[in-house]
């Protein structure tokens, strides 16, 4: 296929793997991985050495798997690697920018290397550099960039050819908290507003939950779990609730919820609720109950959200099972 004008994937998964395995001699980087990734943002989470980068490189055709199969955007990785590489973008984890070239020139060149003509490449480069937030700096050699600017330039080249899927390998690595937050917002926009499927990795376990629709957890090359971000919360997660008012209102709500069968404890200005018991575990039941109780008490709900720390808990619990 030479000319691609963007087909719909329909409901087919963006990525699917079956028994994917990569061994480097005695090092088992990836073992029997079977997962599916859909549209939107998918977080790929795991400690350093879990096999995240290895998986991405196999899907790109940069590495050959020792076993198993995978399809990306409907193409088999072994038979149609070139077709895949036309349709995906890749932001590697390590430095990959020549220091003596400006981001503008570099992104134009990389867009051309993905098959765009000279003028289309210039137009796209200007667009994506604006989206990632590189302004005047784009005309300066990249060697003088801060880590944050380099990450933006790396992201821009991954988006230059308007891919259908991007692999972002540790895009927040080395960033300070503010830049990290900006990057996460960008990732969220790419998967949502831009309509490009995203597979984004992080070794920080809680970080991606805020921006991902789906999370895959790897541990030592094994799949620990793969589920919608919401499912993590339903199955295992605790909830955080905050109501308008002071500690008095907080405790009022906590006591009322405890009477209805939820285990509550105060945390700061909020009430932390343990994973709901089985009779309240079905979808949305705990949420409904909290909303109703607050309404009965005439309390204004300020926030009702999953406890951000729980992804780490999932990892630790699951990880222990493998040891």
């Amino acid at each position: 296929m030479r000319f691609v004008t963007g087909e719909l994937t329909g409901l087919a998964p963006v990525i699917s793997t079956a028994g994917l395995t990569k061994h480097y001699g005695a090092v088992h980087a990836l073992t029997d991985l079977t997962v599916e990734v859909g549209a939107g943002v998918t977080g790929l989470v795991g400690a350093n050495g879990a096999g995240k980068s290895t998986l991405i490189k196999i899907l790109l055709g940069l590495l050959e798997p020792t076993g198993g199969h995978a399809r990306v955007l409907g193409h088999d990785i072994e038979e149609a690697s070139e077709d895949i590489r036309r349709l995906v973008g890749y932001m590697p984890e390590h430095d990959c920018l020549p220091p003596d070239v400006s981001a503008s020139d570099f992104v134009v060149h990389m867009a051309r290397m993905s098959g765009l003509g000279a003028s289309a490449a210039r137009e796209r480069a200007a667009d994506v550099l604006r989206h990632v937030g590189l302004d005047e700096e784009r005309y300066r050699p990249m060697g003088g960039y801060s880590t944050g600017m380099k990450q933006r330039a790396k992201l821009a080249q991954a988006l230059a050819h308007d891919p259908r899927l991007v692999f972002l390998d540790e895009p927040t690595n080395g960033l300070d908290p503010a830049a990290r937050n900006d990057m996460l917002r960008l990732v969220e926009r790419i998967g949502g507003e831009f309509g490009i499927a995203v597979l984004v990795t992080s070794h920080l376990l809680g970080e991606l939950e805020q921006v991902s629709d789906h999370v895959i957890v790897l541990d030592g090359g094994h799949l620990l779990r793969s589920s919608a971000t919401g499912d993590f919360i339903e199955h295992t997660g605790s909830l955080l609730v905050e109501v308008v008012g002071t500690e008095t209102e907080r405790d009022l709500l906590g006591e009322a919820l405890a009477k209805r069968g939820l285990t509550c404890r105060p945390r700061g200005a909020m009430v932390a609720i343990d994973p709901p018991p089985t009779e309240l575990a079905h979808e949305g039941a705990a949420f409904d109950l909290i909303r109703d109780v607050a309404a009965e008490l005439g309390l204004g709900l300020m926030r009702l959200q999953p406890d951000r720390r729980h992804l780490e808990d999932v990892f630790l619990d699951g990880g222990a099972a493998h040891v």
Partner: protein, 295 residues
């Protein structure tokens, strides 16, 4: 494949993300773009001002003697060129070697040192095609470097009214030999530059392989010929790209003298070694790019 624009949720407002639904070129066009960019970069075009100094200085130095020869031939009306086309390249071999040593790192070290190779290999071009295009860029840049003075000499020969068919025959032989030499030298310096990523080491390595090695081979050839060990003298010529070039030029009557004439089965050996060397360098380059690209 449909041309109908797909609506994507959330892409409504002006400053929002714009999709690209235009043409995407095939592999051949992408490869050609890479080749042309590489060719320009070998001469510093599209790069910083100071990257142009070295290649154009060397080119000027290799053209200057040809200009003098042309002036003399035209003014004095000589009946032949004082130097053959193929031998001119041989006589300016130091400049050709320096050009290759200095410019190969531009095409073969940078992408690997800065790891931008990963970004190329995550795109449609495969590692073998990428290596091939880089090699062609340098080879054509080198060929051009040798062809400019050659063509100048030819123009001079025509201006002074030398026999056209003789000159064209000699010219075509020289161009064919230069092409082989360019492929050979581009392969050797490219491979060296892709392994030693520090520019300084790459240049020194290429100088060793092209200039020092050729000096050693020439010395052995001269001594062997002097001792009447003709076979040794011819065999030694198999070990450097320049002696392969002069040997083949001698065998083909292209106007280059060697210590001992290259003839018989030796011609085949020279041609075979040259081709194997080119193939070996290419395989090495592909392996190297693939390895670094997967890291």
């Amino acid at each position: 494949m449909s041309d109908v624009p797909q609506s994507r949720p959330g892409v409504i407002h002006d400053l929002g993300y714009r999709r690209y639904d235009g043409l995407r070129e095939g592999t051949a066009t992408i490869a050609r773009t890479l080749f042309i960019t590489g060719l320009r970069h070998a001469y510093g075009l599209g790069r910083s001002g100071k990257s142009k100094v070295m290649p154009f200085l060397l080119l000027a130095m290799s053209v200057l003697p040809a200009l003098i020869v042309v002036g003399v031939v035209v003014l004095t009306g000589m009946s032949s060129l004082p130097i053959s086309y193929a031998d001119y390249t041989n006589q300016t071999q130091l400049l050709v070697s320096l050009f290759a040593a200095a410019q190969a790192p531009v095409l073969f070290s940078r992408d690997l040192r800065h790891r931008s190779i990963v970004l190329y290999l995550a795109r449609p071009l495969s590692a073998p095609l990428f290596a091939l295009m880089r090699w062609l860029s340098l080879a054509v840049a080198l060929w051009f470097f040798m062809a400019v003075p050659t063509l100048l000499l030819f123009v001079g020969a025509m201006l002074s009214g030398l026999d056209k068919s003789d000159q064209v025959t000699q010219l075509l032989k020289a161009v064919a030999l230069q092409t082989l030499l360019a492929l050979l030298v581009a392969g050797i310096t490219g491979l060296i530059s892709s392994v030693s990523l520090r520019r300084g080491f790459a240049v020194v390595g290429s100088v060793m392989a092209l200039i020092v090695l050729t000096g050693v081979v020439t010395a052995i050839q001269a001594i062997a010929a002097d001792q009447d060990a003709d076979a040794v003298s011819v065999a030694a010529g198999l070990f450097s790209p320049w002696s392969l070039y002069t040997g083949l030029a001698n065998a083909w009557d292209a106007g280059v003298e060697t210590f001992v004439p290259v003839d018989g089965a030796w011609v085949l050996a020279y041609a075979l070694v040259a081709l194997l060397l080119v193939a070996g360098c290419l395989l090495g380059l592909v392996a190297r790019f693939q390895k670094v690209g997967s890291r």
